[in-house]
């Protein structure tokens, strides 16, 4: 499996964010995207996930039968947790939606430390717990590419270590991790991509 991005450009609201970004990642590799606020880190991740169309350039996933969107997890600023559903129901839905096996649920919940809260509704969760529930999605539905946007936001120290562990295991299984971040994530041998502040 090899993910290649060639000459990606992004225009948001008539303003060019970045131009001509290229990179290639093989299985097990990681990419840390850095850049100033508003440089286009989130837009780049959304383009990679297929949620946004690039102004120019293309993304190719070689060696997989799926499209990039179908092979990707996108962990954005919003955790996609429904307040009226219980923790388990929330995870169950995302697992079914993104194509995970039913048995993966409980293991994922205990891995992120939410097993004791599984029957509580989403609205009682703190911001950090909601983020942990979003992380459980990554475990419950196996997909080879993880697109993480500021994944450590609202996580405590233990949560950040958990994330580092999860990313390490994912890469050891041959997965690709692409993370936009301001903080060091503990990604070993990660490639770095810095988006310049203003391409125009």
């Amino acid at each position: 499996m090899r993910l290649t991005a060639e000459g990606l450009s992004c225009v948001r609201g008539g303003r060019a964010l970045f131009r001509g970004l290229s990179f290639a990642l093989a299985a097990g590799e990681a990419l840390a995207i850095t850049g100033a606020n508003g440089a286009g880190k989130t837009s780049l991740l959304r383009i990679l996930a297929g949620l946004l169309a690039p102004a120019e350039g293309k993304i190719v996933l070689a060696g997989a039968e799926n499209s990039v969107a179908e092979a990707s997890h996108f962990l954005g600023h919003l955790d996609a947790v429904k307040n009226a559903l219980s923790v388990r129901e929330n995870l169950d839905f995302h697992r079914a939606l993104l194509g995970g096996g039913r048995s993966a649920n409980e293991a994922a919940l205990s891995r992120v430390g939410l097993a004791a809260l599984a029957d509580l509704p989403g609205y009682v969760l703190s911001a950090g717990q909601r983020r942990r529930l979003a992380l459980a999605r990554l475990i419950a539905a196996p997909r080879p590419i993880w697109l993480l946007d500021e994944p450590t936001a609202s996580l405590d120290t233990a949560g950040q270590e958990l994330l580092t562990g999860l990313m390490g295991e994912h890469r050891a299984r041959g997965g690709i991790v692409i993370a936009a971040t301001h903080l060091p994530l503990g990604l070993e041998n990660a490639r770095a991509l810095s988006i310049p502040a203003r391409a125009a």
Binding site: L51, H73, D79, K82, A84, L85, E89, D92, L97, L98
Partner: protein, 221 residues
């Protein structure tokens, strides 16, 4: 396939739980139909005559409630991004959400129609006809509303917008719904206008999800 059934199950669950708004439509329908006798006076023949039309207008307006939240709620909490990453096509995802909305808000309207009809003094045969036409017409209304819901997904207050968009386009459903009911009451041919109603409803059932998916892709770009 399991992704789609998960969407339907989740949306029905969300609608039926506290704050989901599934009951609001039925209560609004009840309130509207209760108001009619107060407005036109206790004139039984008149009520009997305009009753089916009142039920249709009531159901039409009640089905507009909550329409704007179909995609907006998912857009606000990030769920829409996750829906788009599913391997199911966006068109079928939109159809699944439309089906869930109809099950939670459209079907209850059809179920309470006979009860409300009794309040308007509508005779049993006409009640059956109204219920049947609403059963055929409300899915079309919901899937027509799906397009407006998709356009209103990123709007802060899209409720009025979707109502304004849906109402003019719903006129054919209203016309054939009421005409076929009146034909049944008069003992004339119920079949022909009812088939037109079904055809228009089916047209929206097919067009709605495709147009909604197209709208979602544009609105979110």
């Amino acid at each position: 396939m399991s992704a789609l059934s998960a969407i339907v199950m989740r949306d029905v669950k969300l609608a039926l739980r506290a704050g989901g708004g599934a009951g609001v439509g039925v209560i609004f329908f009840l309130a509207l139909v209760t108001l009619v006798p107060f407005a036109v006076g206790p004139d039984m023949p008149l009520l009997t005559r305009i009753g089916p039309a009142m039920l249709w207008i009531g159901a039409l307006l009640a089905s507009l409630l909550g329409l704007d939240r179909i995609f907006a709620a998912d857009h606000e909490d990030g769920s829409l991004d996750q829906l788009m990453l599913s391997s199911a096509p966006l068109e079928t995802i939109a159809a699944a959400k439309g089906l869930a909305h109809w099950l939670a808000s459209g079907l209850p309207l059809v179920i309470v129609t006979p009860v409300l009809g009794l309040m308007l003094g509508i005779e049993p045969k006409a009640l059956l006809a109204v219920s049947l036409t609403l059963l055929a017409g409300t899915p079309g209304l919901t899937f027509l509303g799906l397009v407006a819901a998709a356009l209103a997904a990123a709007m802060p207050r899209g409720g009025l917008f979707s109502a304004v968009l849906v109402l003019p386009l719903s006129i054919p459903l209203l016309i054939f719904g009421v005409v076929s009911t009146n034909a049944a009451i008069a003992g004339e041919g119920f079949g022909a206008p009812f088939r037109f109603l079904c055809a228009i409803s089916l047209f929206f059932l097919v067009l709605g999800p495709a147009a909604a998916a197209m709208a979602l892709r544009h609105v979110r770009d």
